[in-house]
Symmetry: C2
Subunit: 741 residues, 2 copies
């Protein structure tokens, strides 16, 4: 594979113009401030309608379907699962798609929903072909960006992409990330021994992206790294912007999604008991002992409120006389600190601690953020929830270790907490690495992710930094330096082995109004106090991670996933940026607003870590959360807690999250185990871990990859999902090939 | 107070006729089988409407109210809280009602909602007076039945009843139950020493009610016990049946309830932050460490599914070779038992255990009941979840002790599990008492209740008993015998000290079609295979408990509360029967169907133990549960789990119940603590316990009785509730007095 960023040139002014209009209208609709009403969820609570829907569906199932064949052309092949063989590609290279193959991999018989007869969507064939082409073009764009950055793209989708291009999919084309395997017995995960040699390269940032050079003196660029090409990115983005606003594609996507939902309802009615039977027959495995990963949780709020309260009280009993702070050169003891706040820890309650999101925080991200301060005192936040304080983050490390030990006790629960890097100074990485090594914060039930808040504007207005470029340098240069010369940056090198990805965080409902284009100021020239747009941040995060991953892969080191917060609020363009750049996302609520993006997220099976309890306190009421709908359609959903300190009540926040979802949405065991399995797949756990959690074949897509003895997900369910996915992809492929006739 | 059951004669055929029509129509509407649609809850999810509602209310609050004074007569007095003094009764005997008095008991200032100007409901004054008279008559009926049986009736309501009768309320009139206090240090709660002497009476059942006689030979009835009078009960019941169907009373009650709801919304908007401030200021007390009682939980399902699974596995590891059963004279070991079921405990999972209510149980009480059998095997139910098996209930006792020990660890969580007495044979009580004493099943965090399933029809069809009278004898005669002669029934005597009440349980949606009247067969003549009606059961349960309580009170023993399941499904007449006979109820969902009963439950503050998660699996979807609405209106609501084994996922089912309610309905800390406080008040914990849990004055109604340092309920909230309640009662009193002018 050639290591270069394939370029394209913008010549199409029309394209840019339309893209700008779409962007403006996306912003516009968001400006109207009635954000809630924009979620076009049914007003009813989802469980409410179920019975009525099922009755209707049953009727449909009994009567033969007589589709209205509007504008039908000549796509005569039935596009649902074709038992026996697929007509695309030769059989041996076909990913498992047919029910005949399903039988080979031990899927029990189940009732399949087959739509026979001519293809008829109520759309003209031209429109379908147009939509199919657009959707495949979009997926090809995502495939390109994922491969370039060692992020994941499903091989089933790649297979159909190649088909539509009349090419052959090759297994070698699949690109996979590298995560650090768990330490071997007697191996010290904190050992700074054996760091690789210095490559001698020099890292310098050009236009916001780190470039590597032979040496300080030699300006020869390291050739085999794929540096990004801004113009190409912008062109690709504009193509996608046009696509999501394109009428026929919107209609088509909307119909396919509705179809997917109805088809699942039918599947459920027909096979629910069969799935249950499968799951019941598996010895020793149930929802309680399948692996589940909390795929989105902030380290600073990973303990619940009661836990934090107890920790504060305990620290006071033990450490009252200890100096915990220096203010104006004066040492302050813990007792002194509490005296200055006029409170005694014994009297503290979860009420006075006041870190729980209440009714007051709904649609008020600003109020929510201040909840991070216990008793409203930023001193306590600094002392208990930060790594860089006078005590070098000792309390924070202890709290996290207690959380980790609770997870270890539970055995099957894992978490991926996020630690912050702000980009205020180049030293942040080092101090975080020192904290990590000093307190030996490592647990088999925890994997680390780095979150980078999008708060350039705050630092700029305080004159902490002079340009956006400086912030990017502070964030990324240390990573390149430690990768080029681990010998010199041993601690950071060790810490980086344990980091699995990057998150980009902030309130998405704030927006800059700026549209990212080739005319946008370059990072070094970005010196205003205005914050760049979400997409601008995404592009520069992605680009640097991409180059970094390529360098690290070459050195045999682990690579990073980009896993931003996306689609919690704000414009749908955020989701578009993530579609191009991110391995997986957190939230994704706004996929409700764009059927095209929602269908693309389905087709590319982009994992989405959803946190309905967090949404319930901030942006969207529980009963209106699209999670059950997404799950039914077959989007790759996992459940996560976001901030147990703010949102949860019990000692097991992740179980609370699952329990409430199960209760309110009446999820079956199979549903819950499917979500758990998704969470493991989405996570940054290493190949070695995933083999233990999910079985030897977990990388295979479809029922072949599901080990029911480990996942407790019925093979019938996985086969249904896989066959349905393949037939959607096959439908698009057929439509495209049709045009060529 | 005279100890006799005041009688009245039926002469009013019209009354009976109308009552029969009402009953028939109540049944009729229920027959239509679209039970769900009968709950006239808004189709929207309750949280959904909140914001819109609040905006509207704000408008109302700003504009001066200009009520339409239709048919107004001469009720000129403002009926809302009258600051300073109440015009009813003399001030010293007035229960705390005015805001001036509120200040005396340490209620912070808050914003009160005052409706000034003439009284105007949109109803004619005649109608209001008519409704007021009917409602007060109904409450007088309840007051009578509660006093006769040593059950609770609030003195505030009694006070206003006396006012309306131009009488004076006296504190001595208040009747309170007696519960056994907790054992003193070094006191053995299981000691059979010191049982009182034999009274020498003879107990015999006449027409379904136990009567006491001087001795076996001497037929002189014990004069000072109030035996019930069937005709009077029927007359009272018919009065109530007419009332709940009376048009003006329905309209009036509906309007008052709507008013209460809106008033609370206003209160919340105006005082939410003030309440929060109060609660925050209380040191060391928060939602986690206020006492909460699980007021409705069945012992046979009081452990969660994971707990039962673990217990089964553990018992197998320890006891595989032990004989646990005898079948056809052959001893069977635990291993043999599992072999005969073709399963190995190691392979068991919560899926194969299959005791969790799934989607399949919704509206299927029959399927739900079979979930009590682990792995579908009644042998396992008998072994693990019963007291009367070959092992004498050893495993069941161990499981309950583990649950109790979890509660003790939590310190602030309590439960009132129900044990079953069926009435199949007179020995049941003794065998239960032996189990209790043998395994010493006692915990400070547990109080016992006895549940009696309404399954006469099953026993009759199997010829286990010959008449309903025999079932009643089996249930009640042993209690009287042990009360008359504790020396002879020492174990039962001790066990009865630890019982606090009786529950009546079964699927309410089954109904007999029989209407209870003076013409109904007497219990001894009830020999058909048909089950008597709910009301028939209620009357005979109540009557026997009433006589028993009077006897026990005379002997200085503890008394019992009647706490039936009521209003979970079925006809509204069930709630009417409970209104007459029961201290408090479980479920109460059907109060939605009858505004009159709902308003009466409010006015008499009858506690309702609600279990929304149980309802969600059986009768009513979570988002449609009326709990938040009831709570806002001021009904006395507590939260309970019903059957953790079937419904809950986490290790702390009661916390799960609270957490989900808090999340889905966005309850504030104050709401949750109010519910917790209600649960303690409702419970069968003794006076001594309640003083510790809620403070010295807990028996006083209104803010005087609330110790915020223990309950964490804002005084503002309690004052609001109390003032609102008093003004509703005062409104009725004024309307009645008006007529007399």
């Amino acid at each position: 594979m050639e290591k270069s960023f394939p370029k394209s040139l913008i010549e199409d002014d029309h394209l840019r113009e339309v893209a700008e209009r779409v962007f403006a209208s996306a912003l516009g609709s968001e400006d109207s401030k009635v954000e809630l009403s924009l979620f076009d969820v049914a007003v009813d609570c989802p469980i409410g309608d179920r019975e009525a829907k099922e009755r209707e569906l049953m009727k449909v199932a009994v009567e033969p379907t007589r589709g209205k064949t509007t504008g039908r052309k000549h796509l005569l092949r039935s596009f649902t699962v074709d038992p026996g063989l697929s007509q695309v590609g030769t059989l041996d290279s076909v990913p498992l798609v047919s029910s005949a193959k399903s039988a080979l991999v031990n899927v029990p018989d189940f009732q399949r929903v087959a739509i026979t007869g001519d293809y008829a969507t109520g759309l003209s064939m031209e429109d379908v072909q147009h939509a199919a082409k657009g959707l495949f073009q979009a997926m090809a764009i995502r495939e390109k960006y994922m491969r370039l950055s060692f992020q994941r793209f499903p091989c089933t989708t790649s297979f159909y992409l190649r088909c539509s291009e009349n090419e052959r999919w090759k297994e070698e084309d699949q690109v996979l990330p590298t995560f650090t395997p768990p330490p071997k017995p007697n191996e010290d995960p904190f050992s700074t021994e054996g760091a690789p040699d210095n490559l001698g390269y020099t890292a310098r940032m050009n236009d916001g992206v780190v470039h590597l050079y032979r040496s300080q003196e030699n300006d020869a660029q390291i050739y085999n790294l794929p540096y990004p090409h801004l113009e190409t990115f912008i062109t690709d983005m504009n193509v996608l912007l046009m696509l999501i606003a394109d009428g026929p594609t919107k209609t088509f996507s909307h119909r396919r999604l509705k179809f997917l939902e109805s088809k699942f309802h039918l599947h459920e009615m027909l096979n629910e008991m069969a799935e249950l039977k499968e799951v019941k027959a598996i010895p020793h495995r149930d929802f309680y002992n399948v692996r589940k990963v909390d795929t989105h949780i902030h380290a600073a709020a990973c303990m619940n409120q009661k836990h934090l309260l107890r920790f504060i009280k305990k620290s006071y009993r033990v450490d009252a006389d200890r100096v915990v702070r220096v203010k104006d050169g004066q040492p302050i003891t813990l007792e002194g600190l509490f005296n200055s706040l006029h409170l005694h820890p014994y009297d503290l309650t979860v009420d006075s601690l006041d870190v729980h999101a209440g009714r007051q925080t709904f649609h008020r991200f600003d109020k929510f953020n201040s909840k991070y301060n216990p008793v409203g005192a930023s001193e306590l936040r600094e002392l208990y929830l930060k790594t860089d304080n006078y005590m070098e983050g000792e309390y924070f490390a202890h709290i996290i270790k207690e959380v980790a030990s609770d997870l270890e006790d539970s055995r099957y629960q894992h978490a991926e907490p996020r630690l912050s890097i702000y980009g205020r100074s180049p030293d942040e990485w080092n101090s975080l690495a020192c904290w990590f090594l000093k307190f030996r914060v490592h647990s088999p039930n925890i994997r680390w992710t780095i979150q980078i808040p999008r708060i350039y504007d705050i630092f700029r207005s305080k004159n902490v930094i002079s340009s956006f470029g400086e912030m990017l340098k502070n964030i990324f240069l240390p990573l390149f330096e430690a990768t080029v010369n681990p010998q010199k940056h041993k601690k950071l090198h060790v810490f980086l082995k344990h980091v699995t990805g990057f998150d980009s965080v902030d309130d998405e409902s704030k927006h800059s109004g700026h549209m990212f284009s080739t005319k946008s100021s370059k990072p070094d020239e970005w010196t205003t106090e205005k914050n760049p747009s979400y997409t601008y941040y995404m592009y520069y995060m992605y680009s640097n991670i991409m180059v970094l991953n390529n360098l690290r892969r070459e050195r045999g080191m682990n690579t990073y996933q980009f896993r931003p917060h996306c689609g919690e609020a704000g414009a749908v363009t955020h989701l578009l940026a993530a579609f191009m750049t991110s391995d997986n996302i957190s939230h994704g609520l706004n996929l409700k607003k764009s059927p095209v993006l929602q269908f693309l997220f389905y087709l590319a099976q982009i994992p989405i870590a959803m946190s309905p309890l967090s949404n319930n306190s901030l942006f969207l009421e529980y009963a209106k959360n699209p999670l059950p709908e997404f799950l039914q359609k077959g989007l790759c959903i996992s459940l996560s807690t976001d901030d147990p300190m703010q949102f949860h009540y019990t000692k097991e926040p992740l179980m609370e999250e699952y329990a409430i979802a199960a209760q309110v949405w009446k999820l079956s065991t199979c549903d819950m185990c499917e979500i758990s399995r998704n969470s493991v797949l989405q996570s940054g756990y290493s190949h070695e871990d995933k083999v233990i959690f999910l079985g030897q074949n977990y990388l295979k897509e479809g029922p072949e990859g599901n080990d029911i003895r480990k996942s407790n997900v019925a093979q019938i369910r996985v086969a249904y999902r896989y066959e349905t996915w393949c037939s959607e992809l096959a439908l698009l492929t057929d439509a495209i090939k049709c045009t060529d006739d």
